[in-house]
Amino acid sequence: MRKMLAVFVTLALIAGVAVFAYRPAPAGAQGGGTIEAAVTYGGAPVVEKLKVNKDTKQCGTEAVLEKVVVGANKGLANAVVSVAGAKGPARAAKAEIDQQGCKFVPRVVAMMPGAIDIKNSDGILHNIHTYSTANASINKAQPKFKKVMTEKFDKPEFVKLTCDVHSWMLGWIAVMPNPFFGVTDAKGTTRIENVPPGKYTLEVWHETLGKQTKDVEVKAGQTARVAVEMKK
């Protein structure tokens, strides 16, 4: 009797752990579709240059402020494309942003609510100064010996990231409510995969050009191509 009970308990435990460990594959894994977004901007790029008076070994003698980066075929870089209302599991990879050459690399990083590693590859003092409303804003020093600082952003929001030591440094952490997002590359494009089929509103956000939306229908196994033009 006792043996039986022990076996039963063990089995139950294993079953329990198994159930706990089992995570249903994301809806899109088998039946999802892909969104290919191409974001364009008809206006002129806004790239300013500033003379650097310190840390020239790391920062160079000229700082480049990439406010609006427009590539070939009017492709707009650094725009965050997201699928409003879609539901999906958290992304496995931890978000990361680096401070390299006195610039945030990448300039725009998108992540789900949670932690982000903020790296300091420059090996000089930076300070992580964020401007946000939903999340508590932070202002923490990151001296040369502090290679990585991990910060948490729990609420969806576009968080502005600055450094007061190098006032030209500007970055953005886009905290998104679901895993279906992407940041446009130099050509203005990004791919969002495994989106559960359905009708959605595609949202595009850019730090200076604001927001645009477009309707999109995602069908299983298919790629929906969406072109969005940003206007000033």
Binding site: N53, K54, I124, L125, N127, I128, H129, Y131, A136, S137, I138, N139, K140, A141, Q142, P143, K144, F145, K146, M149, D164, V165, H166, S167
Partner: protein, 478 residues
């Protein structure tokens, strides 16, 4: 790593009984009367006087407070009470200790009403690591950490607020903001006690570029080493003087501001204010203190001036101007209370100026008002200036006597009025836009004579002789 584990262990701050007793309604009455002029009726920092102030008055609707003892954004009631009571040194916020304590607690209660949603999170006091007493070793470690965490980027290599990032600094509202001059702890916004300074380093100054360092030093106790180092940079308290004593010396007076002679003489500290009487006014003067040392010999008088200026500027003529300083004297000191108008004289009565200007050097001038300067021909004054790590050190020399009626003569024992004016050209100061003082006094101490060494022993010997005589006479009679 260790810093992360050990450093911020936070405990909930217990509100004091008095804090809970604050009556916001009663606080409003006091606020409208005493605070609204700068901070605005709505608490948004936009009172009628706000435009003229730098730093700007606090916008209470944001719930962001510079000085707090908490690891969280929200300050404790005690933090607010303390700033109301002690004011913010170096800003336009005066101490309100004149108000009854109850009124101040009522104000705290009222202030919190401006941003109720910002106070949902309970304030949590930051727990500092165990205090490390000051010692040569601790100061050395503090200096190492100062360099390692690059405090110099804003505060400058010697702490004189002259770091390379200085000009770029803005607060969260986009207004320019200056780093603290660490050699002047009396101007620290959040107080100059050891705990105040350690806390500022640990949690930063909210709404400003000053970040929190508690997670960003090598070991938590480094905040105390940094505190000890910072306090080692200052002379303690300034030695404010109303009378500048000119010490008599024998032999030649060196031109070199770094000569050993000057280090032997204790400085008199003279506070300067912005010139706000005539346009263009200077509401936010850059130079607020000059340390004065003065000596004279049988021929010359010399002034040694030390003042902080974050930028060495000879001026581009448009936005930046030459740095300058002047000592002002009445041409003929009467010894009485009659003196020319302190603001560089006026049409009826001029002043004599002993001046230094970057690019030009030492010179003399007369003035009949702040815009009416006339250089004196045949300059008799000489001198030398050095600029290093955000500080000028200057020696200006001149003969004691002068045959020229426009030039002040300096005589021992005479109380000679003196006033000071200074310009930080790099901050756009020129002409009437300056820092200045009202009249002070200068006195050349009586020349050293050998009489004081000879007379007392002679008197002593004579007294002794007289006593012996008296004793002798008494003995002979008995």
């Amino acid at each position: 790593m260790i810093a992360v584990i050990v450093a911020v262990s936070v405990v909930a701050a217990a509100g004091t009984a008095a804090a809970q007793g604050g009556d916001a309604g009663a606080g409003k009455a006091v606020y409208d009367l005493k605070c609204a002029g700068c901070h605005g009726e709505k608490g948004d920092g936009k009172g009628p006087a706000a435009e003229l102030l730098e730093p700007r008055p606090r916008d209470f609707t944001t719930g962001v407070y510079k000085v707090r003892s908490t690891a969280t954004k929200v300050p404790t009631d005690q933090d607010l009470f303390r700033v109301i009571t002690e004011g913010m040194p170096g800003t336009s916020m005066p101490p309100w200790a004149v108000l009854p304590e109850k009124d101040r607690w009522n104000l705290v209660a009222y202030l919190k009403r401006f941003a109720p949603e910002k106070r949902e999170e309970a304030p949590k006091r930051v727990e500092l690591p165990r205090e490390v007493a000051s010692s040569a070793e601790s100061i050395k470690r503090g200096r190492e950490m100062y360099e390692a965490i690059e405090c110099n980027k804003c505060h400058g290599d010697q702490g004189r607020a002259d770091g390379p990032s200085r000009a770029e600094l803005k607060d969260d509202w986009g207004h320019p903001i200056r780093p603290a001059n660490l050699t002047k702890p009396w101007s620290f916004r959040g107080g100059a006690s050891r705990t105040d300074i350690a806390r500022r380093i640990a949690v930063g100054v909210l709404g400003t570029p000053m970040p929190s360092f508690i997670d960003s030093v090598e070991k938590p106790e480094d905040v105390w080493h940094l505190t000890n180092y910072i306090l080692s940079l200052s002379p303690g308290a300034p030695r404010y003087a109303t009378l500048v004593t000119v010490t008599s010396v024998a032999g030649a007076i060196p031109d070199d501001p770094d000569a050993a002679l000057w280090k032997r003489i204790a400085p008199s500290h003279i506070p300067l204010m912005g010139q706000v009487i005539v346009d263009p006014r200077n509401f936010n003067p850059s130079i607020d203190l000059v340390a004065v040392r003065a000596v004279y010999n049988d021929r010359e008088i010399a002034f040694h001036l030390t003042w902080d200026d974050p930028t060495e500027s000879t001026g581009d003529g448009t936005r930046a101007f030459p740095d300058a300083i002047s000592l002002q004297f009445p041409p003929r000191p009467s010894g009485g209370a009659e003196r020319p108008y302190f603001l560089m004289g006026d049409a009826s009565e001029g002043v004599y100026l002993l001046r230094w200007e970057s690019g030009k050097g030492v010179g003399e001038a007369t003035a009949h008002g702040p815009t009416k300067l006339a250089p004196l021909a045949g300059a008799e004054a000489t001198g030398r200036a050095v600029f290093a790590a955000g500080q000028y050190r200057l020696v200006m020399k001149r003969p004691l006597a002068s045959k020229d009626a426009a030039r002040t003569e300096f005589r021992p024992g005479v109380f000679t009025p003196v006033a000071f004016q200074a310009w930080d050209g790099g901050a756009g100061e020129a002409g009437p836009k300056m820092s200045l003082t009202s009249w002070y006094y200068l006195r050349l101490e009586e020349p050293e004579s050998s009489r004081r060494f000879v007379l007392p022993p002679v008197v002593a010997i004579l007294t002794l002789a007289a006593m012996l005589l008296v004793v002798r006479v008494a003995q002979m009679r008995s």
